[in-house]
């Protein structure tokens, strides 16, 4: 199925450039996509992947360069043009209409109609089929999307992209919030599409995943393509070397740390939107990983814990003292800090500057005689930009202009800056490249070494297994199992997450039945 060099490419991009003000996001990038191939696009945060794909889909107009589809010049005037030419895309940042239902979102722009009149039955059928295809027939089709969790939203987006009959399907980090199960199902779908002759461009920072699904790859660095080839026979290390220009020895570094006394304990905490009360404890210097499927209630637990949702019952004890008050403000006062999984909707104030976003939760260091000094604030932010190697023009740049991964780093920097004692991290590495990821793991380790406590929610099992001391598993809103990391492996974690209990000894592949 993989075309030989003789087969003409479906898509050819050459010399494509795009600048945002002073930022050169794409610098004469070239790219070729064969028919019926899965092509991975790889690169650091801010390398220009999303920008390149937006140019392809017609969402952005390039400053220079040419594109051809099937040998014919292709210059889309907008996303509609792109769709008509057979380019469908899943965007990195969730793009759903929050007031509309799942069904309406899936068919948006592709409504089945007769002379303008909607054919509800036909759409209902199509949506049901597509949701079944992605393995989530249980998603309520009549629920407004705004009420769903990030993971479910991502499934809805995938369903939407699959609904369109396209020749080129672009997926920009479709699995950043998906657990393994769902990712695997997606890969099956991708393979099936490939076999039907659809070409897929796949962007992800999960390199093993990429290696499994892709036929060929292209690596972007600083808006230029620095290498491409067949996936088969290429080592991950080589790709990483291409990406970052140096070798990376350890993907998940472990920092030695020791556990101290208990700093946080939940005793039957029940939030307004939680299915069941939760009890758990967290010690100083502990990294507590939390695993679970989409909608298993991890985020909701964090939100109740942090005072974003109403607490209906139970107690939260921090450093031996029960937590009074009901707002995030009181939580921050007691040393808690939360990283939101929804960075654009909640995590960041997009129209404000990088500096403001980093320091918003603690402006006291920048006060001089009652007044705030913007220059001190900028200086403070600059040091974090350097420390976290954030790709930004400077502390005054609006966060909206940064690439997805760099936005995430800004959100993380805020927690580090506010000197929290208990870190509640909800999918902290979502959309972050391998190099930065390993940096983040290192910081988390450092935090633990300094005696901070970390609650680490993730859908990415290798990182959970790699850096946690303990892993707790959520299933349908309840905490079903908590064990030291040594007693877990990928299979038993999956089993616990899907059926709600895990065998003591790791058995062979339990498939989901829930």
């Amino acid at each position: 199925m993989i075309p030989g060099p003789a087969a003409p490419p479906v898509l050819r991009m050459s010399g494509v450039s795009k600048s945002f003000g002073a930022t050169r996001a794409l610098d004469g990038v070239s790219f070729e996509l064969g028919r019926g191939e899965v092509h991975a696009l790889i690169g650091e945060n801010g390398a220009g992947k999303s920008t390149m794909m937006k140019v392809l889909s017609g969402a952005l107009a390039p400053d220079a360069g040419r594109m051809e589809i099937d040998g014919r010049p292709y210059a889309p005037s907008g996303p509609l043009d792109g769709l008509r030419s057979g380019v469908a895309m899943i965007y990195q940042e969730l793009t759903l209409a929050p007031h509309m239902t799942v069904e309406e979102n899936v068919v948006l722009g592709r409504e089945v109609h007769r002379a303008g009149w909607l054919d509800r039955e036909a759409m209902r059928r199509k949506v049901r089929e597509t949701l079944e295809l992605v393995g989530h027939p249980e998603i309520p089709r009549d629920a407004p999307v705004g009420r769903l969790s990030v993971g479910v939203k991502q499934v809805v987006e995938i369903a939407r992209a699959l609904l369109n009959e396209s020749r080129i399907l672009v997926m920009d980090e479709p699995t950043s919030s998906l657990p393994l199960e769902d990712s695997q199902r997606l890969f099956e779908i991708i393979r099936r599409l490939r076999d039907q002759g659809v070409s897929v461009i796949y962007i992800s920072h999960f390199l093993e995943e990429v290696q499994r699904v892709a036929d060929r790859y292209t690596v972007l660095r600083d808006g230029r393509s620095v290498g491409s080839g067949r996936m088969e026979g290429t080592r991950l290390e080589d790709i990483i070397q291409l990406m970052v220009g140096r070798e990376l020895t350890q993907l998940i570094p472990r920092v030695e740390h020791t556990l101290g006394e208990t700093v946080l304990s939940l005793d039957g905490l029940k939030g307004a939107r939680m299915a069941a009360p939760i009890s758990l404890t967290l010690a100083r210097g502990e990294i507590l990983g939390i695993a679970g499927l989409i909608g298993s209630g991890r985020t909701e637990m964090l939100r109740a814990l942090f005072g974003l949702d109403e607490v209906e019952g139970g107690a939260i004890v921090v450093s031996g003292e029960a937590l009074a008050g009901r707002t995030p403000w009181t939580r921050i006062g007691r040393g808690l800090g939360l990283l939101s999984e929804d960075r654009q909707g909640e995590g960041l104030a997009l129209s404000m500057s990088v500096a403001d976003n980093m320091t918003l939760s603690d402006l006291t260091p920048y006060r001089r005689g009652g007044l705030l000094s913007p220059s001190l604030q900028r200086r403070g932010a600059s040091s974090w930009i350097e420390k976290l190697q954030i790709k930004a023009r400077g502390p005054a740049q609006p966060v909206a202009d940064l690439s997805g991964g760099n936005q995430q780093k800004v959100a993380l920097a805020r927690l580090l800056h506010q000197k929290a004692g208990v870190f509640l991290l909800d999918e902290p590495t979502r959309g972050i490249d391998v190099v930065s990821k390993s940096q983040i793991y290192e910081w988390i380790g450092e935090l633990a070494r300094e005696g901070k406590a970390v609650l680490f929610v993730s859908s990415y099992l290798p990182e959970l297994l790699g850096i946690s001391d303990t892993i707790a598993v959520f299933h349908r809103g309840a905490l079903v199992e908590s064990r030291p990391v040594a007693e877990w492996d990928a299979t038993s974690l999956m089993a616990a997450a899907t059926v709600g209990r895990a065998p003591r000894t790791a058995p062979s592949s339990p498939r989901s039945s829930a």
Partner: protein
């Protein structure tokens, strides 16, 4: 099944919910001994219905605009301009039907201009329509020569006659026109691709664009349609006043917007319904009518209506919890 049961209950509540505010207002006055007997008489209901026509037509278009995430402050000026144009045309000896068409078309043109400015210049609708509010009002005064235009009586003036000409109509033709357009628009919003796209643009414009919806076209269409409704409303205003008055309906845009919001429309877009809006219009009309029949001084009336707006929306929010 308890779940199913609850679902059905909440559906019922959602259906009747919007009426609660209206029923409360009606009950309030129906129980006061002083006006009791007369408040619910058909003659009074008829005049409330007729009084609602102008705001209702404006609010139909405003519902579209608000669902699509916009706002139209020029609605009231547009109504005044259209009524002046219609009067001018009748006065100039045009056949009444042509005058009506001209009035409606004027409204449509103003709406089209709003839409074009919003989409071409990428300005916020608040500003575009604030500017248009002055422009349309100025133009109305200009055309009318700073005076009202006296036009000879024609059948156009029958449109808002409380006692309609073929008596079996029962209600003024204007009321029937509102009812027909409300039904049509409700169906359009629910069951056409266009309606769906209006919601999508209001809910998340970026998403709509990425999904291949021609958002600019949708918006222009929405503003133009709303303009046509304002034009029709202006014709009704002319019909009711029997003169073209450039100073009419000052500040009415806020009443129109309030009606939409009381009816569940959200100013951030993506939410709203025709049924809700119509109920919002009736709530305000019944309040005014009741207060006047009671002979309460205007300031009391102003205070009560202000309070009711807040209360009605609060009830609506509670219902949605």
């Amino acid at each position: 099944m308890s779940r199913q049961h609850r679902d059905r209950l909440s559906k019922a509540l959602n259906f009747f919910g919007p009426f609660i505010g209206l029923l409360l207002v009606i009950a309030l006055f129906a129980l006061i001994p002083e006006v009791q007997g007369r408040f619910l008489r058909f003659a009074n209901l008829k005049s409330v219905a007729t009084q609602s026509v102008i705001v209702a037509l404006g609010a139909l278009g405003m519902t579209l605009i608000i669902i699509s995430g916009g706002i139209d402050l020029s609605a009231a000026s547009n109504i005044a301009l259209s009524s002046v144009i219609a009067a001018y045309a009748v006065n100039a000896g045009l056949p009444p039907l042509a005058a009506v068409a001209l009035g409606v078309a004027t409204g449509g043109l103003v709406g089209l201009a709003n839409g074009a400015l919003v989409t071409r210049l990428r300005l916020v609708p608040f500003i575009v329509t604030l500017g248009m509010m002055g422009i349309a009002r100025g133009a109305a005064k200009w055309i009318a020569g700073n005076q009202k235009i006296d036009a000879p009586m024609t059948w156009v003036n029958e449109l808002m006659a409380k006692t309609p000409h073929p008596p079996w109509l029962l209600l003024a033709p204007g009321v029937w026109i509102v009812i027909v357009f409300a039904v049509v628009l409700a169906v359009v919003l629910r069951s056409t691709v266009f309606g769906r796209h209006v919601f999508a643009v209001g809910s998340n414009e970026a998403t709509a664009r990425l999904c291949g919806i021609r958002t600019d076209r949708v918006k222009v269409l929405v503003y133009a349609l709303a303009g046509l409704f304002c034009g029709l409303s202006g014709v009704m205003e002319f019909s009711r006043l029997t003169v073209g008055d450039p100073t009419v309906a000052v500040g009415l845009e806020l009443d129109i917007i309030a009606a939409v919001v009381i009816g569940g429309g959200s100013l951030s877009g993506g939410e709203g319904s025709i049924l809700g809006t119509m109920i919002g219009v009736l709530i305000m009309s019944f309040l005014r009518n009741g207060c006047t029949m009671m002979g309460w001084p205007n300031y009391i009336q102003e205070i009560i209506i202000g309070a009711i707006i807040v209360i009605a929306v609060t009830l609506d929010r509670l219902r949605h919890r």
